[in-house]
Structures are given as structure tokens and as C-alpha cells.
Symmetry: C2
Subunit: 424 residues, 2 copies
């Protein structure tokens, strides 16, 4: 019981804080596991490479050690390593001509930061800070607006397909009246108005997009740079995620066959790739957030059913709300003339009955992944409906700018991606 109470205390933190702590916990565990995994994978190779280098170095010394000054050799080696890391060798392109500097600036504002070029003067370093602050901010805004435009575009296309599907269904049904007694055309118009694309479909399309861009880019890089396709693909992931290790950097040799075209292509690939992966990450992070909510609900279930069968409080339907809604639903229907609150009340109740209204889930049994996915959809639906009704309620009126509708990565997606209960 003591353990159960402990859990309760943790969960009954303010919901937001609990979710934040849970995420930190998961992230730390994920990083620890990752560290163990990569350590196992790479440890041996590191030893091999170190041995290899030592063999080369001591072999050289053994052969020529008597003739040369070892201190001077070490100095040369050091100078060479520095020059190599700064790309000063003759085979490399100039760092700070205009195109080189443009490439550098691009890696700064996008926060890729390959590091194949970095400022070495004091003024350069100071200017980087001054220049980077607005640059990176503008670029974050660019990614966010791109994300918003992309999702809008995807939603438009998917809606068109959905429309066609509905029309085909209507044609097949002919003049048969459906269960609810409404005419098919009315029903499908209603469906269409409320329809929003699913987050999972958008995820699929983004995956296809990202893989396509990465494949095309890899094909180009492996041809022009002479990397193997596999390395090129790895590079694409590292660059598009804005990690930018800098172990592989394209467009660094001093001469290419079609120099201008290749540099332009490189710029386009990087821009498209970063935008696409940024959108991809933001969509995944919605799913992760829903997973966290699901975990919180589950933890809540586990500890609370032992105490008393009270209405469950969770991220999607806080307790005080649930009680209020159950008792005042009919009341609201009559007292409020507008459609919005009524619809919301019905929705939330529907959702309740889906996850815990039946009372069985509260007894602590396992909630399946299917339920999670289902509740994910429905909780998104509740939010969407609310946002949607808001806009309609105010007569489409005082929505001041698209900023208010949520351009920011997550919230914008919430606005755009949810399916309403109209489809159920």
C-alpha cells in the first residue's frame, strides 16, 4: 500500500509537471540504454583503429627515428591535424571565399554546424554570436511555418481524396437511407466539413517524403563524393536532423565536374531534408506526448482503484470536469442555444465511456496498445472539436491571424491533424 500511495503522490502532482518528469525519466533511461548499446557496438572498433594508428606511427619512427628529430615530427603532426580539421590542405576548397562563407552561414542558421568551417578570429567569433541569434530564430520560424504550410497542403490533398471516397460511397448506396434517417448527401457533407487527416497518415507521408529526399540525395552524394550509398544515407540522416557531426561533409573538395550545379543541389537537398525531418520529428513528438498521457492514465489507474472507485482524473478528462459533465450534460443541452458546448459535452462523455466510463479499466487491467492508439485519436478529436467550435462560435470572426490558430510546431499540428468524432 505504501508503494501505491507513493505512486499516487507522484501522479497527483499537477498533470503538466508529472508529464514533464515522466518525459525526463524516459529520456534519461533512453540515453542510458543508448550509451550501453553504442558502447558495445563501437568499443572494439575504437581499439582496432587506435592500434592501427599506433602501428603506423611507431613503424615510421622505427624506420626513420634515427634520422629525424622526434619533437619536430610531433609538431608537424600536430600542425597537420589542425590544418586538416580546419580544411586548410590544398585538396580542400577555400573556406572563406563567398560560397564557402555562404555554406558556413547556412550551417549556422540551420544549427547543423558541421564544423568543417568555424571562425578563428576574435571578431569572427563575436560576430557569430551577434549574427546567430536572429538567424537561428528566423530559421526556427521558417521551419515552423514550413511545417504549418506542409500540413495544410497534405490536409488539402487528403481531404480531396476523402471527398472522392465519400462521393463513391454515396453513389453506391444510391437512394437507400442510412441508419440515422438523414439523407446520404447531408451526412457526407457533414462528414466532409468535420474531416481532418489522421496523424498516422501524415506520419506515413512524411516518412515517404523523407526517405525519398534522403535516397535522391544519397544517390547524388555517392556519385559525386565517392562515398558508398550506405555512408551517404547515414550522412543524410545526420545532416537533416541538424546533428551535423562533420565526419562526412559534402562539397569540400576543391574541384568538382559540375561545381555550381552540385553546390546548388547540395543546398536544396539540405534545405528540403531539414524541413522534412523537422516536420517528421514534430509529428512523432505528438505521438510521444500521447504515449506519456497514456502512461500517466495507466499509473493513475494502478494506484487509485485500491482506494475508492472515484471518477478518474487524467490528462484528457480531469476529475472535476468529468463529474460536472456527467451531471450537467442535459442541463447544458437546454440552457445553451449554441451547438458548441453541447457537442463538446457529448464528445467528452463518449470518450469517457471509451476508456473508463465502463468502469472495467479502472480495476487496473492492462490497457492494450490498440486502446492507446484509439484513445490517442479520440483525445485529439476532442481537442480538435473544441478548437473548431471556437472558431465557429465566434462567427469565424475575431480570429486575428494564423498565429492564433497555432503555428507553433505541436499546437499547430493539433489543430490540423485531428480526426473528429464525426467519423465514428
Amino acid at each position: 500500500m505504501a508503494r501505491g500511495n507513493h505512486w499516487c503522490a507522484v501522479i497527483h502532482l499537477k498533470e503538466d509537471n508529472a508529464r514533464f518528469l515522466l518525459l525526463i525519466l524516459f529520456l534519461l533511461i533512453y540515453m542510458l540504454l543508448g550509451a550501453i548499446m553504442f558502447s558495445r557496438i563501437e568499443f572494439e572498433k575504437e581499439q582496432e583503429e587506435r592500434d592501427e594508428y599506433n602501428t603506423t606511427y611507431y613503424g615510421f619512427l622505427k624506420k626513420h627515428g634515427d634520422n629525424i628529430n622526434i619533437t619536430e615530427l610531433d609538431e608537424l603532426l600536430k600542425a597537420h591535424a589542425l590544418a586538416s580539421s580546419k580544411g586548410l590542405l590544398v585538396s580542400k576548397r577555400p573556406r572563406w571565399d563567398f560560397t564557402g562563407a555562404f555554406y558556413f552561414v547556412g550551417t549556422v542558421v540551420s544549427t547543423i554546424g558541421f564544423g568543417m568551417t568555424s571562425p578563428s578570429t576574435i571578431l569572427g567569433k563575436a560576430m557569430l554570436i551577434v549574427y546567430g541569434l536572429p538567424g537561428c530564430s528566423a530559421c526556427i520560424l521558417f521551419f515552423n511555418i514550413f511545417l504549418e504550410r506542409l500540413i495544410t497542403f497534405l490536409a488539402l490533398i487528403m481531404k480531396k481524396f476523402h471527398e472522392r471516397k465519400l462521393r463513391r460511397q454515396r453513389d453506391q448506396n444510391g437512394l437507400k437511407l442510412p441508419n440515422n434517417g438523414r439523407r446520404p448527401s447531408e451526412q457526407s457533407d457533414d462528414d466532409l466539413e468535420n474531416w481532418k487527416p489522421s496523424v498516422y497518415w501524415v506520419l506515413l507521408y512524411l516518412t515517404i517524403g523523407a526517405v525519398t529526399i534522403a535516397s535522391c540525395a544519397s544517390a547524388v552524394y555517392s556519385t559525386v563524393e565517392g562515398w558508398n550509398f550506405y555512408d551517404s544515407f547515414y550522412f543524410c540522416f545526420v545532416a537533416f536532423s541538424t546533428i551535423g557531426f562533420g565526419d562526412l561533409v559534402p562539397s569540400q573538395m576543391s574541384d568538382y565536374d559540375t561545381q555550381f550545379l552540385y553546390r546548388l543541389g547540395n543546398f536544396c537537398f539540405l534545405t528540403a531534408g531539414v524541413c522534412c525531418i523537422y516536420s517528421f520529428y514534430n509529428v512523432i513528438s505528438i505521438v510521444i506526448k500521447q504515449f506519456l498521457n497514456w502512461c500517466l492514465r495507466k499509473l493513475d489507474c494502478k494506484c487509485c482503484h485500491r482506494r475508492k472507485p472515484r471518477p478518474r482524473r487524467n490528462a484528457i478528462t480531469p476529475g472535476h470536469l468529468q463529474r460536472q459533465l456527467h451531471s450537467s450534460q442535459e442541463e447544458k443541452r437546454t440552457e445553451n442555444g449554441t451547438t458548441a458546448p453541447k457537442t463538446n459535452a457529448v464528445e467528452v462523455t463518449e470518450f469517457d465511456s471509451e476508456t473508463d466510463g465502463a468502469g472495467r479499466r479502472m480495476s487496473g487491467e492492462m490497457i492494450s496498445m490498440k486502446d492507446f492508439l484509439q484513445s490517442n485519436k479520440v483525445s485529439l478529436a476532442v481537442m480538435q472539436k473544441q478548437l473548431y467550435e471556437t472558431r465557429r462560435n465566434h462567427g469565424g470572426g475575431a480570429v486575428p491571424s494564423p498565429l492564433g490558430q497555432g503555428v507553433g510546431s505541436l499546437a499547430m499540428l493539433n489543430n490540423k491533424l485531428q480526426e473528429t468524432e464525426g467519423r465514428e
Copy 2:
């Protein structure tokens, strides 16, 4: 006139697209200017460093060239540069022991990617892609939730101070009735309820926070790593922005005095810094977005007053809306019993009169930066009010989770940072 028409065509794209294009244009110009600037600053230094290295190299050859095989020397140099870039030299810490791998994993999920360590096996590269996708997404979510928590916390503190200020004002005013005839206590309660912190104050606090963290971190790095303070500060900017060039990377030597403590401190500094700068960038990007809106309005002004004095369409009050609001404001007041639409209508009208309702601005005269800042505040206020009223309108009821209130970087900030018209 042809030029004017051209501008109009550009601006009367869908508002969102116009803003996106404008941002791309600005970003390209900014990058071009940056490229020119950095090229000028760094070009000479590059030549110097190249010459310096060549002097060292050819000096060594001149002295020892007769005794050694130059091909073998070049191979050694190459091997050394590679080993140095991979950190395989004896003076460096092991790459892939557990702590090294943990450091590596941290630079992956945060997308800093210094590149002091990167996988070299095929399996390692493949696993990086598999591991990085959920890791980076979770980290983006972490940053977003941190941002939301931080702003909530700042808002709470600032509200407390505002409350104290109001109370002091009330005490000073004594029993005097203010202009609008309401009692002071009523008025200040109202003010307090509607009060939200200004985006500029939050920006100030974030700046202070970021500079403090960077200064503390720089002090530690310059002591332990032996970098000068200036370089340490530059490193902090590069790391906290997740650019991560990798020209300076802390905690790379094989031995430190207080190793565990330093590594822990390094981890904490990087986490706090990245979170803080991420929040900082997102707040700046709101201001940039408002600047873009202001530019669009201004372009709109310039081309449209030549044609006919029609109500201006802009990001904050689209034309169709404006007309509708002006004509139906009184109507709304009576037909709709709830407070929300009424308040919104009043607000938008207020805002209109501030920027173009008076008709003077439409004649194309310059809008000053002060006006921009002012309108920035007010437009945020309009949005905030709307979001706020939404929540109240639905009885605090169907808000399903904080996700719906906008966790995503920008939208969340819109929700939290706006000042309402109550303060004017």
C-alpha cells in the same frame, strides 16, 4: 503603376503564403549578407594559417627530406589527422567507454552533434538512424514542454509582482473613485484576471538567464579546460544553440582533477543552456513573425491606397472580417448573451482604430517602429483574449489537456505571453 500592381499581386497571395515567402526572402538576404561579412572577417586569417602550415611542412621536409620517404610521411600525416579527428590520441579520453558513449548519445538526441565522437562501424551507423529518430523527437518534445513550464513559471512570478503593484496603487488611491466609476478593488481584480506578461519582459528574463548560465559555464570551462574566457563564451553559444561545430569540445582530455563532478557539471550546463536558448529563440521568433506581419501590412498599404480607399486586409484583421465587425458589432452585443464575442468585437475594433481605422495610415505614410511594437502588443492581445475567452466560454469545461492549449513552441507562447487590452 505597373510596379504597384506587381506588389499587389505578390501581397494578395494567401496571407500565409505571402508571409512564408517574405520570410524566405529575408532569410536569403540575411544569409548573403552574413556570407559577405564572414568572408571579409575570416579570409585573411585563413591565408595566414595556410601559409603557417605550409612553412612548417616544407621546413620539415627541407631539413629531413633526404633521410625519409616522403610518401610514408604523407601517409603518417593522413593517419594522424584521422586519428586526431576521431580522438584516438593517447591524451584524449576513450571514445566509447560508457561515459563517452553517454556523452555521444547526449549530443545526438539534443542535435548538438559536436562530432568529437561518431560511429565508424556499419552497425553503429545504422543504429544511429534507428536510435536517433525517437530520441530527437522526444528531445524536441522535452524542449517544448520545458518552454511551456518555464513560461508558466515566469508568468506566475510576474503576476505576483503585478498583483503587489496593483495593491500598492490601490492603497495610494485610497477611496478615490477612478474615471470609469468602478470601485478600485473591482477594477484591479479585473486587471489581474486579464493580466499576462509582456513578450518583451519574458525576452529580457530569458536573456538574463541565458547570459548567466553561459557566464557560469564559461568560468568553469576556462578554468578546467584552459581556454580563455572569450573562447569559452563562444563555445557556450555554439553548444547551447545546438550548432555544435566541434572546434572546441569540453571534457575531452583523459584526466581531470574532479572528473565525475566536471562531467556532471558539463551535462547540467549543456542541458540548462540548450533549454534556455531554445526558449529564447522561440520567443524571438514570435517577434520576427510580428515584424513580418507588419511588413506585409506596410506593403499592402503602399500599393492599395492608389487604387481605392477600401478597408484594408491584413494579417490581423482580414478585410471581410473588418467590414463584418464594423457593421454587426452592435447587433452581436444584443443577439449574443455571452461575453466572449462582444469583448472580441470591441477589441478588434480598438485595434483597427489604432493602426488603420483613422484612415491616415492607409495613405501610405511611414509606420514607425514604435507603432510596430505597439501593434505587436495589441495583436498578441487580440489573440490572447480570444484563446482566453474560449476557455471561459466553454465553462473551463471541455479543455481536454494542456496540449489543446498549445504546447508547441510558438502557439504556446502566444497563449502565455500576451497582454490583454485590459491594461490600456
